[in-house]
């Protein structure tokens, strides 16, 4: 190799500069070069004068003073967890204990079956007392799992909770190297050595406390959002419920009966909708969308866009004159999935909340052709206002509940089933609208092709669910929905022949299996077999279903008048907007990811943001309501506590070293670091309330004046050295 490496990169400056020139075309790139170069330049020169940038105004000669690190000489205790057999079956924990106890600052090292358990925590506390430990290392599961638990153990002994370091021997060692126990043990030693290296440099940190805005934002006005809003409002907090469509109610409002009790969906839902509209603590933002969200737990700011309805909501009484006078009445009604029609001035369904009409601008004669205005002339309350504009409102809330629901799987993606090609192939949700007394046919279950009553109906399961070509997951509600719909079909037409084609019938809930028995006794035929294809008979629009009967082991064909596709549930297309605004994580199936699948099922990784309903994954109404109440309960905790503590792992500027270059100011997207106007030299200062601890400023600082607590340059450097030293 031509270049001999030296411990300082300082002497390579000419190489870097020669590299710089061609890149100067792009100002931003050049600026980034500066950052990386300058941090290189500042490099290894920690304990001697640092000279920076050749521009005279930037020259500053300082020396880093020996700042006190931690409370006193480190006395480290190392606790290595067996995690039952999860770690100990692979990693030789005794060997790791021996290895750890040889380090100079380690005064105590031990292994324990479950460090997180009560005896495990007692062991930590006892040894903090006994050995006067001032640093604790727990080598166990991921720090994302039990960091808070162990911090509390330190706190209980009067030790600063940030003098804890967790190293991940389970998720990132024993569980991923299960067939290489020897190498896993060596790696475990290296990881523990790295933790020890970092622990010697840990400093006590004090979290800051912030007050909490006593209000919550609920996004989505389906049954999940309604339940969460009512619960939060009943606890006593102000709730902003934002719904995208002109009415709350969501998918549940479209259903006719609910399984397995056959409650009328409207009868149980609409009173709750009315409760929402009348609750003094709830502000309902219907026909509105959340545009942006900023801030953090306790202090979120959200911008809501209230779309123009072209009808003044305070004047509209919902009398419906505008709709009845409107000359355009042939718009496919979205609520009825296009099976019925509506006027341009409309409410989605008669029980809509709020009962305010909306003018559909896209199809309005006045907006498209500049003529008409009949609604304006005929409205008895002068509520029509063609000059209305979208309105932006900024609200402040302490916590956020996401209840954005689901999209029905688009059955067109499975063309072999003929949806939209054959008139008598419908989805399960369309069936609900057909059989609903408030639906387009007034509750008559008839064939769309000719309006005749069907004599033979097929329900086809798993459309877009349990299918490697579309969604691999089970949508959980379709089996019971189809069984219920089969029952309803039999109820309407007792002589009709009803078949359900299934892969597995999953009737797992309370009273579900009993309902299935009942439906079988009513004469519904259950056929185990996946339907391969549906053909149409052009003469009479009848349908032939080709399927494999897996119990008989035969491929068969059967004719039907009508086929109902049990389309599955999918993440909402527009959920991504919320995901981007809040930086939430998604599961592999693209539903929102909970903080822990078992122990934190309604929290997200973003503090103060909670999940409920089908936004988190497919579930039926009982589960949605239970989860919504759980989310409301979780979201009320910070509101009740009235204050939240922030992570103290934030940036700190050493004024001695700051050269007032303002690079940090330009990289911080939170405006959390800026020139201190009270300082003569305008050196940088961190706003501790705004700093989120990402560390971008520390990485960019050419003077290395910024310390990123919890992730300092020195700590990471020591970790690197430890990780790159082979254990003996």
């Amino acid at each position: 190799m031509q270049i001999v490496w030296t411990s300082t990169l300082h002497s390579y400056m000419p190489i870097f500069v020669s590299f710089l020139h061609p890149l100067q075309q792009s100002q931003f790139l050049f600026y980034c070069c500066l950052i990386s170069l300058s941090s290189l330049h500042a490099g290894k020169a920690l304990n001697r004068p640092i000279l920076r940038f050749q521009s005279s105004s930037w020259v500053r000669t300082v020396s880093r003073t020996g700042k006190s690190r931690g409370p006193e000489e480190p006395r480290i205790g190392v606790f290595i967890c067996h995690c039952g057999s999860n770690i100990a079956d692979i990693v030789d924990v005794k060997e790791v204990v021996d290895f750890a106890s040889k380090f100079p600052n380690v005064v105590f090292a031990v292994d324990e079956r479950y460090v997180c358990s009560e005896p495990g925590q007692a062991l930590i506390r006892e040894n903090i007392r006994k050995h006067k430990l001032n640093r604790v290392i727990v080598a166990s599961c991921s720090p994302r799992m039990h960091e808070t638990t162990f911090r509390k153990a330190l706190e209980a002994e009067g030790l600063n909770p940030f003098l804890l370091e967790i190293t991940n021997l389970r998720e990132q060692c024993s569980w991923v190297h299960m067939h290489e126990p020897r190498k896993a043990t060596q790696k475990a030693k290296v990881l523990v050595a790295s933790a020890i290296a970092k622990a010697t440099l840990l400093e006590p940190l004090t979290p800051m406390k912030f007050s909490v805005t006593p209000a919550a934002l609920v996004i989505g006005g389906g049954i999940a959002g309604i339940q969460a809003s009512l619960d939060l409002a009943n606890i006593g907090f102000k709730v902003h419920l934002v719904e995208k469509t002109p009415s709350i109610g969501g998918h549940m409002a479209q259903l006719d009966k609910t399984f397995p009790t056959l409650d009328c969906s409207a009868c149980i839902l609409t009173p709750k909708m009315v409760d929402v509209s009348r609750h003094p603590n709830i502000t309902l933002w219907s026909y509105s969308e959340v545009e942006s969200i900023s801030g953090f737990i306790g202090n979120f700011k959200a911008t809501i866009v209230e779309k123009a309805r072209y009808i003044n909501k305070s004047l509209c009484t919902g009398c419906g004159t505008c709709a009845s006078k409107c000359p355009v009445k042939t718009i496919p009604n979205e609520f009825d999935l296009g099976l019925g029609t509506r006027s341009v001035a409309y409410i989605p369904f008669p029980q809509a909340v709020p009962l305010i009409y909306t003018i559909d601008k896209e199809n309005c004669l006045y907006f498209t052709k500049g003529v008409c205005r009949v609604c304006e002339k005929t409205c008895p309350f002068k509520a029509v206002d063609f000059n209305q504009q979208d309105k932006k409102v900024e609200i402040e809330v302490g916590t956020i509940v996401i209840a954005t629901g689901y999209d029905l799987f688009d059955a067109n993606r499975k063309p072999e089933y003929g949806y939209k090609q054959y008139k008598n192939v419908l989805t399960n949700l369309e069936f609900e609208r057909l059989i609903s007394a408030a639906g387009p046919t007034g509750g008559q279950l008839v064939r769309p092709s000719d309006g005749r009553a069907p004599k033979k109906i097929a329900f086809v399961q798993c459309i877009g669910s349990r299918d490697i070509l579309t969604n691999p997951y089970c949508s959980r509600v379709c089996c019971m929905a189809s069984v219920k719909q089969a029952h309803q079909a039999k109820e309407k037409y007792p002589d009709a022949k009803v078949f359900v084609f299934y892969i597995d019938l999953r009737t797992f809930g309370k009273g579900y299996e009993e309902f299935l028995w009942r439906v079988q006794e009513e004469g519904v035929n259950l056929v185990r077999g996946k339907v391969a294809e549906i053909y149409r008979k052009p003469k009479d629009e009848n349908l032939t279903v080709l399927f494999e009967d897996t119990l008989l082991g035969q491929t068969r064909e059967m004719d039907f008048d009508m086929v109902i596709l049990a389309a599955g549930l999918e993440p909402r297309v527009d959920a991504q907007q919320i995901q981007k605004a809040l930086k939430l994580s998604m599961s592999p199936d693209s539903f929102f990811l909970e903080a822990h699948p078992k122990l934190r099922p309604v929290e997200t990784h973003i503090a103060g943001v909670y999940l409920c309903g089908c936004a988190q994954g497919p579930k039926d109404i009982p589960d949605v309501v239970a989860q919504a109440s759980a989310a409301a309960s979780q979201a009320s905790i910070p509101l009740i506590q009235g204050e939240v503590v922030s992570e103290p792992t934030i940036a700190y500027v050493d004024k001695e070293l700051c050269c007032s270059c303002k690079i940090c100011e330009s990289v911080c997207v939170y405006d959390a670091i800026e020139a201190d106007e009270t300082d003569e030299e305008k050196r940088a200062k961190v706003n501790e309330a705004l700093c989120v601890g990402c560390g971008s400023c520390a990485a960019a600082c050419p003077a290395r004046a910024i310390t990123m607590y919890g992730f300092t340059k020195e700590q990471i450097s020591k970790q690197l050295a430890a990780l790159l030293t082979e254990p003996t």
Partner: protein, 140 residues
Amino acid sequence: MTEFEPVIIGLTCNWCAYAGADLAGTSKIQYPPNIRIIRVMCTGRIEPEFIFDAFRMGADGVLIGGCHLGDCHYQEGNYKTALRVSITREVLKSLGIEPERVRLEWISASEGKKFSETVKSFIEEIRRLGPNPLKGAPEA
């Protein structure tokens, strides 16, 4: 002669790639133990010098894992990383270190499989490249 076993340093952000590595663990997706991970809150914290330090101290490769572009928990830390890493690679090249020894990947919290696949393919690539050319070089 025993086969060359590369030592890889992983620098991963807490929210995505580290969580993805955790998911690989929970899902018991196996990969070779050559990688040793340091957790930072955001890849935006990663200074080019961490990478240079890693090579100076003998690492054969550095894998940086962050959130997908647009998904950064801190809005745009990963964009800064992308730029810093591309420049770091150029500097490494001028120092005689193959830029392929630094890999930047976007791995979300749900991509446990992607994490393990990335680690495996990176180890193979480093195996092809051979040991860090600085190993054994005198410290000045």
